[in-house]
Symmetry: C2
Subunit: 660 residues, 2 copies
Amino acid sequence: MPSSDSSSKLPRVFIDEVAPSVDGGRHAVKRCLGDALVVGADIYKDGHDLIGARVRFRPPGERDWQTAAMSYDFDFDRWSGSVPLDLLGRWEIAVEAWPDYFATWRTDLGKRLQAAQDVGAELLEGAALLRRARPGGAARKRLTEIAHLLADGARSQEERCVAALDPELAALMDGPLAPAHVTRSAPSLPVLVERERARLGAWYELFPRSQAPLGGRPRHGTFADAERRLPELAMLGFDVIYLPPVHPIGRSHRKGPNNSRTSSAGDPGSPWAIGAREGGHTAVHPELGTIDDFDRLVRAAAAHGIEVALDYALQCSPDHPWATEHPEWFHRRPDGSIRYAENPPKKYEDIYPINFWCEKESDRVALWEACRDIFLFWIEHGVRIFRVDNPHTKPFAFWEWCLRDVQERHPDVVFLSEAFTRPKRMLGLAKIGFSQSYTYFTWKNTSWELRDFLRMLLEPEWLECYRPNFFANTPDILHEYLQKGGRPAFRTRLLLAATLSPSYGIYSGFELCENVPLHEGSEEYLDSEKYQLRPRHWDAQDNIKPDIAQLNHLRRHHPALQRFDNLRILDCENPNIFWYRKKAGAEDLFIAVNLDPYAAQEAMVPVPIDELGLDADAPYRMRDLLTDTSYQWRGPRGYVRLDPRERAGHLFRFEAGGST
Amino acid sequence: MPSSDSSSKLPRVFIDEVAPSVDGGRHAVKRCLGDALVVGADIYKDGHDLIGARVRFRPPGERDWQTAAMSYDFDFDRWSGSVPLDLLGRWEIAVEAWPDYFATWRTDLGKRLQAAQDVGAELLEGAALLRRARPGGAARKRLTEIAHLLADGARSQEERCVAALDPELAALMDGPLAPAHVTRSAPSLPVLVERERARLGAWYELFPRSQAPLGGRPRHGTFADAERRLPELAMLGFDVIYLPPVHPIGRSHRKGPNNSRTSSAGDPGSPWAIGAREGGHTAVHPELGTIDDFDRLVRAAAAHGIEVALDYALQCSPDHPWATEHPEWFHRRPDGSIRYAENPPKKYEDIYPINFWCEKESDRVALWEACRDIFLFWIEHGVRIFRVDNPHTKPFAFWEWCLRDVQERHPDVVFLSEAFTRPKRMLGLAKIGFSQSYTYFTWKNTSWELRDFLRMLLEPEWLECYRPNFFANTPDILHEYLQKGGRPAFRTRLLLAATLSPSYGIYSGFELCENVPLHEGSEEYLDSEKYQLRPRHWDAQDNIKPDIAQLNHLRRHHPALQRFDNLRILDCENPNIFWYRKKAGAEDLFIAVNLDPYAAQEAMVPVPIDELGLDADAPYRMRDLLTDTSYQWRGPRGYVRLDPRERAGHLFRFEAGGST
């Protein structure tokens, strides 16, 4: 039964499908600083009353809600409004709407006047509406005056109607007449605003220990050696250099070259076996230098416009100080010993996984805080980007708490999830707070694979929270396509990575087309840098550094390459040519990539001339930004021919008009 | 900071995308009694622990939650479970999941044994797991025994492993080890379970006042006259007869024939101008008979397996008793008079719209209850189906409260929304509780129109709560397609309505192919029954009653015609032929309808032989259930030719195998 008390809960307007949202507000939508957030909602009510609506939003750290106007376009019931996101952190958004009784009355009055009807009664009703409004101060006084005028039978209807239809009055009467008329969408939806680097950047992974110059006596590379590579990396246009763990490396069960279970005295071990007597996650490996050397590397990189991203790998070697100081943070066997990593029946004796749930709640709290403090330590040392190792093997609840806690203190910190797992877990990590993520890109080499994979990433559920970082290789993944396709394959994959995704990366050696696997059928590198030093001749013949430099340059100057949501995959009859479009503002790029590293491929590729506003026979130009060559095309199909000995693809900019 | 108190809120398992839901649980999903509700969810966690999950559900009126098993199929992270819906009313569903530590341990133990590893420590860990479980009674005792056995170093590992892997133990250990391990999806999602008639039925609209037999002296028809038509309507296979309002008709501003603003003494007026000195919404129009006559009609219909649906039109003629007894329930003008209906500048002086918000809250409560009580009155008189007139002109909040209140008392009541308005308002009415709805079907006559319209209805958002009722005509809508296409057009529209949608209807006269409009360009009937008596010769030449009887018969015996969600629209190169499929269980129907009422059309229609499990050259048969003729086809295309002088279409049942 409708009680008197419930009346204010009876909505006069209904609000559905508020967007953007992830899982109905359980998780945050992601945006970058400076973006305009477009908020949409289905808003409807009975009858023919006009509706008023606005976005409610609360910037991070603010107590009060602000509002932004909403309006509808061609669809009467779909409203939208825009919120400028000018602060890093977690915003909240909602929508409120109400029946706009005054605007309805005003519109109806106009129609009656057009039909030359008597509006005496309507003017009295209008006066009553004005008296019901409850603005403060001068507006109140002004409304009373106008209400008096509207109701004044001594004046002409014409004079009273002029006052009724005056825009000044419409402005005074803007908004709901009474709080009970307002419907607010619930729950409010979170929006996480991060800096642009969360979406956009060219990454380069390097092992500092391999950066000692060739030619001299072979030795362990250092932070200082890495520093010396900065000018080159800056010239190549990289935004981020990512360093595998720089911490002391365990000695117990240290792995030898090519992941052998035994090591010799000189073997450096895997940087991911973290912790030794020299310290754990907040120490640096002595052979790399000191913490001061590290700080200098970070500063020098910054001077080149490059950020240092650090690996964050929550696991310990048996020699990690935590193993003795905090055995309660590990899984223990019935005999009290710490359990090494296993994936039965496989055993990994060089690694102790952490038991994030502990047995005692107080231990859990201390452990989680210690893990959080590792982030805070490196943030103090200038690091603002972390590549998080295997996050899908640690509790999602931990990440949800920890990433948020860190970002509340340092909202400019960016987290890259290094998860290679099933799609819903990848997406889950994005939902609970990772800024960006590794992807399946390395395994998507045919046009069908690429198409299906990219379409998944473009689905709204993914697009709103999952930002891809297309690494073309990693120390663990050397795809058969690169192994067999050689230099043309490297150029193709580079072109795809750098133009499909605003964030992409290569692991060093890629620029030299290193492609020797551990053995036939393996995706591991032979003599992997994970287990040994790999100094390189960085200017070796046939390197593809010119491609890298050019693409990174183009990425910086073409906004269409700086977004992912603008990607449209176009059909191409020849499956060896991948054909796609990226549009931003007035710039419209069309990209053709030859996926066949062995042979020239040609195709008639479709051009959506309707969308481009072209007549069926109008000429237009496609300018290849890679060669600065211009092609004149006409009609809905254009011809491309790509020879892998010459080029991997075309990066066309569409230009209307056919003359040169 | 993670406090001790928060630990139970830290989820060990994540649950997303629980389905089915409408607007995240704000509105109910709809199902029918006897349906099995399939509940799905994305469930994932870190690491390689196995997961346990189940559906939680609460049937209407129950305090306690019950559970149903969930499992995953090919996608590890998408789980589903089934809930048998065996009670009418509002159910609640949710999903709960937990890490299945025992099953993980058991699976790992098996792998270790296969690798011939020593499992002494694992058996001790298993014993510890068993001791942590907290079942009651005998299970507790049995677990203690088994734990003792597993930990008993005096026994052989083989004996202990047999006990560890015993299915009895797995059954005892089924479920979460501790409440803190369990994640529950929130909020719980409502499911409204209605009887099958909410989804499925053939409707016939008739005006009792036009049912007086032809031949005698012309007179006003009565409930008794309508009763005499029941045997014929039962033979035609109708499930529901829907009566326009049967209440006293107002005299003030009564409309004359063809909606003229003046009437003569003998004009019966519009039944939608409800209320006169004889009473309002709970009275019957004296010329139709008494309330006892009405009751007898309802009983007689029931004896023929037919239900009577009543119009529910919340508006009043100026002569309605409420206008004098409750002026506070109407909009009043500044001079105190009641405001008639307007859509400025148009005026409708024969109708007083109700002011559902009133000025005083107590008046609003009394009004809403009075409106609710109209339903309750007619329910007392045996009516269980209401066709609600223009619900989109009354507050959605009113319907949300009222329909739910009525269904909580009488969960077998079905509400049909007669809204012809913008899509989101149509959908909104379905969301807030209408069992089924009128649609745009009458205006969708080309294959493109039908395709786009049907695709919208098949979108999940619509499918979960909006049940279409395809009326082929109404007293207000005589589409140009019928006006111009004549008898073949009527047969085509009947075949479409009856086979596309489980609920469909015709307004009387359709079976006689009545198609004279008020004037060229109008969708109104000439001499519309809304304003005058229209007795008819029900066996007039060229009637399409045989088509109706056959289709209604087929609808009752073919489950594939009793659902909407199984509709698949197939491509057809000839846009004059509409080609679609409906599959249910082993039955697979393919339907071809000629949309051209003027000429024969032919096409090679596609057959999805892959989905049908056919080899490329395997023969199969298409049996036309309308003619009981069988066609042998082969391969992915079949030939159809439809001559409107002979038939409107084929209703094929697919039959594997080519022999006769």
